[in-house]
Structure formats: structure tokens, C-alpha cells
């Protein structure tokens, strides 16, 4: 099935990549990947492990380099220069699987560090915004705690707040709930849903198919470094077009 009813040429593209290729040594880990994310759109990236989905999302904010192709984020082309990297990182917020909070700083300081030192914001303004975001993720009571004193779900919510401090145009989520105990997964997914509903553009790498069904505008299935299938969630889950996607969906539903 190809060709589509909604072509977002009129909406501005926040992330635009074409012909992206990357190698680890001889291993071809990203093969001719082309994808576009429109403003306000939510894309879920899924696929078996080793499919390159984490690598792809990390290329978007420059944590990984690609060798061939074009990648444009918010009209900034990533050309390998430090300048373009710095500019892109101001527009893209990232949430990691392992939270990566700074353990030697309080929750508040974790949030304000980037604002003060990378965006040169005055402290008072940064602190006020941080309080607002902490309220938004329902962690106001933990403002003065250290990450080591929080549960996994709380830490990830702090990580989301930290990324939101950048006021990013696109949020990147790299398997945000994979490292969490099951009972804490939903508190993080709730925050992400609230974000999605408020119109934040996001690309989410996840296995949480329930989240994909309810939030995603597009589900992109990757395998062995290439995009195998991309479709809105209803058609992807009910009627996968490729055999590989079908097999993957079968595996996932058996697991849950």
C-alpha cells in the first residue's frame, strides 16, 4: 500500500531526513532512511532490537553521526559542524532510556542547569519555569531531592521536565519506559500523552503499543536498518502490509 491521503506539504516539517545511511565498521546500520515529521505530529518508531531505531533517533540531535544523506531539523541542516549541532540541540529535547539525570545535583538544579549555562537564562526565570514544569509532571514535592532518592518513574518524569526546559520544537524519546518497573510505566506514559495532546511534536521509540494506538499519528516500523512500513496506527495494527511487520506485531501481542 503506498500513496496517501494526508501529505503534509503545507504544514512545516520539523524533522526532515532523506537517504540517511550509517555504518558501524562494515555493518550497514541505517539504510537509505527517509522520513518527515510535521509540526504537531507524533511518530512512534518500533521494530525488533538491532533495527536501528535508537540509532536513528540519536542521529536527529547529533548524538550519533551519519555518513550519507541529508538531515534537517527545524530548518537547520546537520552538516557535521559544531555550529549546526549546537543549534539543533537547542530545538530538540531528548529523553533517554536510562534517564541520565545528574546525580550530584538536585531535581531543581537538574532542570535549571541547561537553562542557565546553555541558554544563558537568568536564574530567577529559570527557577520559575522549572517549578512550573515540575508541577506539570506532578513532582513539585520532589524539588529539593537528589535523583538517587527517587523512584524510576519519578526520575523519568524529571528527565522529561528537564528536556521540556529547552522549550523544544521536537521531543525525542528513546525507549523511555523500557528501564522501568511495570507499575511505574503508566505514570510516565500519562505525562507523554498529556504532552502529545498539547500539540508537542515528538518521535517516540517504544514497545508500548497501547501508547502508539492512542497517541501516534504515524507508526513507523523498522527492521535491519531500513523503514519497512509506515502507516497510521489503525491500519498498521489491524492490517499490516508487510510480512515482517505482521510477524513483529504477532510477537508483541504475545508478549503482553
Amino acid at each position: 500500500m503506498s500513496g496517501s491521503p494526508h501529505a503534509p506539504q503545507r504544514r512545516e516539517l520539523v524533522v526532515e531526513m532523506s537517504g540517511l545511511n550509517k555504518w558501524y565498521g562494515q555493518h550497514h546500520v541505517l539504510r537509505d532512511v527517509s522520513l518527515g515529521l510535521a509540526s504537531g505530529e507524533k511518530i512512534v518508531l518500533c521494530g525488533p532490537s538491532g533495527s536501528g531505531k535508537s540509532t536513528l533517533i540519536r542521529c536527529i540531535n547529533g548524538l550519533e553521526v551519519f555518513h550519507e544523506g541529508n538531515l534537517i531539523v527545524c530548518n537547520i541542516r546537520l552538516d557535521g559542524s559544531q555550529e549546526s549541532l549546537a543549534q539543533v540541540r537547542r530545538k530538540a529535547g531528548m529523553v533517554f532510556q536510562n534517564f541520565n539525570l545528574f546525580p550530584h545535583l538536585t531535581v531543581l538544579e537538574n532542570l535549571t542547569l541547561g537553562a542557565i549555562y546553555a541558554r544563558n537564562e537568568p536564574e530567577d526565570g529559570a527557577i520559575a519555569r522549572a517549578h512550573g514544569l515540575l508541577a506539570r509532571v506532578q513532582l513539585s514535592s520532589q524539588t529539593w531531592k537528589f535523583p538517587g532518592q527517587l523512584s524510576g518513574g519519578q526520575r523519568q518524569r524529571v528527565a522529561i521536565a528537564r528536556a521540556l526546559m529547552l522549550e523544544p520544537e521536537v521531543m525525542l524519546f528513546d525507549e523511555p519506559t523500557s528501564a522501568l518497573d511495570p507499575e511505574m510505566v503508566h505514570e510516565v506514559l500519562d505525562v507523554m500523552e498529556e504532552l502529545a495532546v498539547s500539540g508537542q511534536s515528538m518521535i517516540v521509540v517504544t514497545h508500548e503499543m497501547g501508547f502508539a494506538r492512542s497517541v501516534a499519528d504515524l507508526v513507523v516500523f523498522m527492521d535491519q536498518g531500513e523503514i519497512v512500513e509506515a502507516a497510521p496506527p489503525e491500519s498498521f495494527f489491524e492490517n499490516p502490509a508487510t510480512a515482517r511487520a505482521k510477524a513483529f506485531i504477532g510477537q508483541i501481542s504475545h508478549a503482553t
Binding site: G3, S4, E16, W23, H28, E226, I227, A230, T242
Partner: protein
């Protein structure tokens, strides 16, 4: 720029390609590691030029202009501009064997060969740990017998004539052989519930760790004879060895204690539940696991023990360093001390590097085993 279609399906996968030339291979390596930017490139060139110049000078001094053999009492060396390695050719017997009688030096050579051979054999993973340890015990005993003599076929040689590499090996072997059991006892004692035992162990460990090794050796060499009755004279070598053993034990005890602390409590509880008494628990369950955990950390102390054998030269004994110092007193060769010490430098470097590589490989093996067990 084209936008991807909203729905997309690729039934067949396209074949993987090889990376383009500037991603793999030598060029990629050069770009990522040496020439990341024009500034980095210039810096690499300058530094590289300095390094090459230095290496050229060193090569010229130590190889090209060097004199390797000067039978006529260093006359050839005096006129040469390069290194005088003839001092090594001339004095190697003293450096390697000390004052050991010339006719018996083959025994020293045999000892060195045995140590190297068993060291190499232990480094491969062919033999079980128990076999290796047993082998080392045999090597140690054989070394003492060969050095001492006194058995049919081997003329007796007094300890005051022992020297060189065999002496270094014996000191090292004795330190480990005596120090490890003592370290284990001290570590267990430090965790004991008996207040007196714990206090004694803590005092010993902290006291010994606070003073220099030299002080301990001097204590052992000078003061011990005063505290022993005159009938009980102990050889200076043995006295100094006791000092080394105590020093090694104090440091190793802390490492072993770390291993004991890292053991999950469940092990001891399970052993207790099985009705095993204290010493049986220790021997069969706790100690084997704790020791396995700390072997990599112990290696640092073991290598340091090998390097510390040089301290015996200060006491007037003729380990490799002491023997070299004595050899270089020869007025004909005294001005080539630099070359002599460089040779000793190289000798220790090879042995210690080998041990350190071995320790690193043990560490990797332990980590692999731990990962598999979890």
C-alpha cells in the same frame, strides 16, 4: 526536499552496502584520531615531528653508534659516542646471579628458566587453578633447593652468596607464600567479634601501613636480633623477608577484607543453616568466593611486591639492583652506569608488564564469569 509518503511499505529488503571509502579503513582512522580539524592536524604534525626527532636521537645513541662488545676493558667505549652496552655484556653474570660462585651459576640459570617456563604455562588457560598453584609451590621449593644445594649432586652455597634474579624470585615467592595466608588471617581477624583479636589485627594492619617499607625492613634487620636470644640467630635474608611478608600481608589484608565484605550475607547464613562450624564455613564457602573476587585487585599488590624486592639492595643484599650497583663499582665501567641501569630497567619492565597483562586478563575472565553467573 521530498517528504516521505504518509503510508509506506517495503515488502522486500534491499541488500546492505559496504561503507564508502572515507568511512572505513585507514583514512577514517586518520580523520577521527589524528586530524579532526586543521588545528588538530597542525598540532599532530608538530608533535609527530618532535617525537620522530627524539626517537631518531635515541636510536642513534642506543643502536647505531652503540658499542656492543668491548673485551679490552671498555677502551672501545671511551672513543665511541653512542651507548656502551658492552657493560652489560661484561657484567651480565653479576647482574643476573650476584656473587654466586661461577661454577654453580648454571643453577641460577636453571631457576630463571623454570620461573619463566611456569610463568608462561600459568598464563595460558590450559591448566586448572589448583594445578597452577601447586606448580608454583613446587617451583618455589625447587628454587630454594637449587640455590641452597647441600643435597647430593649440588654443592652447598651460603645465603650470603645468593644474588641476582634467582634471589629476586625467591624474595618475591616468599613474600607471596608467607604474606597471603597471613593476610587472610588478618582480614578474618579484623572482622572477628572477639574484641581483643579485632583490636590486635586493626593495630597491626594500620600500624604497618603507616610506616615505610624501609622502616619495617630495618626494624626486622636491626632490631629483631636484639629481641631474640643469642642462640636463635636468624639469617639477615630471612629477617628482611619477614619484614616484606608483614608489609605485604597488611596491604593484602585490606583487599581480602574488601572481598569478604562484598560477599552477600546469604552465603554465610546458608552455610550456618547447614550446620557448618566457623572454620569449616570459612575454608569451604566464604574464602574461596571472596578470594576469587579480589584476585584482580590483589595483582596490584603482587606486582608491587615484585618491585619492592629492590629494597633489599639498601640492606646490602644482592638482588638484581644491589648486584648491579656492586657491578658498576668496577672503576673500568663506572662511567657507564646509565647503560647498566637501563638494562635493569628493561628487565623489570618486561617482567612487570607481563604480570600486569596477566592480571588484566584475569580481571576480564572474572568479570565474564560474574556476568554469566548473574
Amino acid at each position: 526536499m521530498s517528504t516521505a509518503p504518509r503510508s509506506f511499505a517495503r515488502p522486500a529488503s534491499s541488500p546492505p552496502r559496504l561503507p564508502p571509502a572515507d568511512v572505513r579503513g585507514v583514512r577514517a582512522f586518520l580523520y577521527t584520531h589524528l586530524f579532526q580539524s586543521p588545528l588538530a592536524g597542525v598540532f599532530t604534525f608538530l608533535l609527530g615531528a618532535v617525537v620522530i626527532l627524539a626517537l631518531w636521537h635515541i636510536a642513534r645513541w642506543s643502536v647505531v653508534d652503540a658499542v656492543w662488545y668491548a673485551p679490552d676493558n671498555s677502551a672501545a667505549c671511551r672513543t665511541a659516542t653512542g651507548a656502551c652496552w658492552a657493560v652489560v655484556a661484561e657484567k651480565y653474570r653479576v647482574i643476573l646471579f650476584g656473587a654466586y660462585p661461577y661454577d654453580e651459576q648454571w643453577r641460577g640459570g636453571l631457576i630463571i628458566a623454570i620461573w619463566l617456563a611456569w610463568g608462561a604455562a600459568s598464563a595460558t588457560s590450559l591448566l586448572a587453578v589448583g594445578t597452577r598453584l601447586a606448580g608454583w609451590a613446587l617451583v618455589f621449593i625447587a628454587t630454594i633447593l637449587l640455590l641452597k644445594g647441600g643435597i647430593p649432586g649440588l654443592a652447598p652455597v651460603g645465603t650470603d652468596l645468593w644474588g641476582g634474579l634467582p634471589l629476586t624470585f625467591i624474595i618475591f615467592g616468599g613474600t607471596i607464600a608467607g604474606g597471603l595466608p597471613l593476610a587472610i588471617l588478618l582480614a578474618i581477624g579484623r572482622r572477628s567479634e572477639l574484641k581483643v583479636v579485632r583490636f590486635l589485627c586493626v593495630a597491626t594492619i594500620e600500624g604497618v601501613r603507616g610506616i615505610p617499607l624501609l622502616a619495617l625492613l630495618f626494624f626486622a634487620a636491626l632490631i629483631l636480633p636484639l629481641f631474640l636470644p643469642p642462640q636463635l640467630t636468624v639469617d639477615k635474608l630471612i629477617r628482611a623477608e619477614i619484614g616484606m611478608i608483614v608489609f605485604f600481608a597488611a596491604y593484602a589484608a585490606e583487599v581480602v577484607r574488601g572481598g569478604l565484605q562484598a560477599m552477600p550475607e546469604g552465603q554465610d547464613e546458608a552455610a550456618k543453616a547447614l550446620g557448618l562450624g566457623y572454620w569449616l564455613r570459612m575454608r569451604k564457602i566464604i574464602l574461596p568466593q571472596a578470594l576469587a573476587i579480589v584476585v584482580p585487585a590483589l595483582f596490584n599488590d603482587i606486582i608491587r611486591a615484585f618491585k619492592n624486592t629492590t629494597f633489599f639492595s639498601i640492606l646490602g643484599l644482592f638482588d638484581v639492583l644491589g648486584a648491579t650497583k656492586a657491578a658498576l663499582q668496577d672503576p673500568n665501567w663506572v662511567r657507564y652506569g646509565t647503560e647498566g641501569y637501563l638494562f635493569v630497567f628493561l628487565l623489570y619492565f618486561i617482567i612487570c608488564s607481563a604480570m600486569s597483562l596477566y592480571g588484566a586478563s584475569i580481571e576480564r575472565d572474572t568479570q565474564r564469569r560474574v556476568r554469566r553467573a548473574n
